[in-house]
């Protein structure tokens, strides 16, 4: 009697969205401040904070790799999910197309980040 219902696969995207949203809410503003303002403008932090040596050392460390991947990938998935829904909200019902573009870009970004983190070595 009851129509069989199609299970939504949204939980995957939603979970990534939520994790990214939480991470960016907790430290997003500070990260932007550090990498985008403090370092370039020489405010507050030592001038060599993001010197090649420092950053490379950080990116070669396991914890550092994990942090960088988490920030880039989760931010992307968070944003992709919201942008996908906002497109729907403003009436761009591209459906699967929009979904592919949004989540596809996040996936590509994640893969590139992972590749780069491998490429910088250990």
């Amino acid at each position: 009697m009851k129509p069989t219902l199609k299970r939504s696969n949204a939980p995957i995207f939603w979970a990534l969205f939520g994790a990214g949203g939480m991470l960016s809410a907790l430290i997003g503003p500070m990260l932007v401040f550090i990498t985008g303002l403090a370092v370039p403008l020489g405010l507050l932090l030592p001038a060599d904070t993001m010197s090649y040596a420092h950053v490379l050392a950080f990116a070669r460390n396991w914890a550092g790799k994990a942090f960088i991947l988490a920030v880039i990938a989760l931010f992307l998935w968070h944003a992709a999910h919201r942008i996908f829904h906002s497109l729907h909200d403003v009436g761009v019902h591209a459906g699967t197309g929009a979904k592919l573009v949004c989540y596809g870009l996040a996936l590509v970004g994640t893969v590139i980040a992972a590749w780069a983190l491998l490429a910088v070595g250990f």
């Binding site: 960016s24 990260l31 990498t35 090649y52 944003a79 906002s86 970004g109 980040a113």
Partner: protein, 132 residues
């Protein structure tokens, strides 16, 4: 024959109809800045993998006023994102019961914002400590 003819109204421009929705679109819009910022970091990471010269070029580019300007806006957008994220948190998480009383919304929002401040300070401290 029934004379019913239900009329369906258009949703065009719905988000302009109510200040609440305008605010919603703005906080959803912060995602654009989150995406762009992640893109910039990703570019930096790729440059890092390419070697010192490439990395330094990327670092230098960040000093470009356009980039600085962008980061100023991004800072505002992410701060607003943090604020709205914790503001809706009481609506999105299961109720927290403390001594038989439901934790009021402002405590949850306040707690979230406080956590963000603490996490941010820790991040700053760690960065500071690592490079000194």
């Amino acid at each position: 024959m029934s004379k019913r003819r239900p009329y369906v109204r258009s949703m065009d421009g719905w988000w302009r109809r109510n200040p609440y929705f305008v605010e919603y679109m703005i906080h959803e819009g912060t995602a654009l800045f989150v995406a762009a910022y992640a893109g910039i970091l990703l570019a930096g990471l790729v440059r890092l993998a390419e070697g010192e010269a490439a990395w330094n070029a990327w670092l230098a580019a960040l000093k470009n006023p356009w980039y600085v300007g962008f980061h100023l806006f991004a800072l505002a957008a992410l701060a607003y994102h943090s604020f709205t994220w914790f503001k809706i948190m009481p609506r999105t998480m299961p109720p927290v019961i403390v001594e038989g009383q439901r934790l009021p919304a402002w405590v949850i929002t306040g707690g979230g914002l406080a956590a963000a401040v603490v996490a941010s300070l820790i991040l700053l401290g760690v960065v500071w400590g690592m490079v000194r």
